[in-house]
Symmetry: C2
Subunit: 116 residues, 2 copies
């Protein structure tokens, strides 16, 4: 890989690390992890979320009961102020990553067209 590519990627990595979005996210993540009940609630939510994602990715059927359980867990964690703030920060970070990816992937998109 060209040296310039590596250097540019590391500059972007550093910029992400120094961004408000990332620092806000780590701060809120540490806050949730430092709070025993918040952490347990959040871990439980994550596990359910990942199980459903895995089922979806492998084409397994998701039962109505599972959907209901997931919805209840979302509603529950959103009541918790620290977790709700962390989830907002995650969403903002994920939007930033999406925007960065759109910029970086432009050369390939131009080659193959927007459909690919």
């Amino acid at each position: 890989m060209t040296v310039n590519l590596h250097d540019s990627a590391y500059s972007l990595e550093k910029a992400i690390r120094q961004s408000d979005e990332y620092n806000n996210l780590t701060k809120l993540y540490d806050e949730v992890n430092a709070d025993v009940s918040a952490k347990a609630m959040f871990d439980n939510f994550r596990t359910i979320q990942m199980q459903l994602q895995q089922k979806q990715m492998t084409g397994q059927e998701i039962t109505e009961e599972e959907v209901e359980q997931a919805q209840k867990t979302v509603a529950l964690v959103q009541q918790h102020e620290k977790i709700a703030r962390l989830m907002e920060a995650e969403q903002r970070m994920s939007m930033v990553i999406g925007e960065l990816n759109q910029i970086i992937m432009k050369p390939l998109e131009e080659l193959y067209g927007p459909a690919q």
Copy 2:
């Protein structure tokens, strides 16, 4: 989004555009597109590939016949020198993008652990 993030992403985008891997890829892509029979063969291969991917992503069953057809098409396009070289260049580019993503995603991986 922080200005610095945007700037860094655009620098990386420029570095990709100027990389040997990208320039080699565009050159070979143009060569295939300029060759009527190669282009038809490659387009057909792409269509089959995308149909299978879509089926896989939406959890639809892929028949044995479809797998066989896909394998035959791969074998066929790999016989074509121009297409074979293009596919190699695509693989190299895709590896580069993978490496770049690993670098960029490090801050988030550190936060959530390698499992996520």
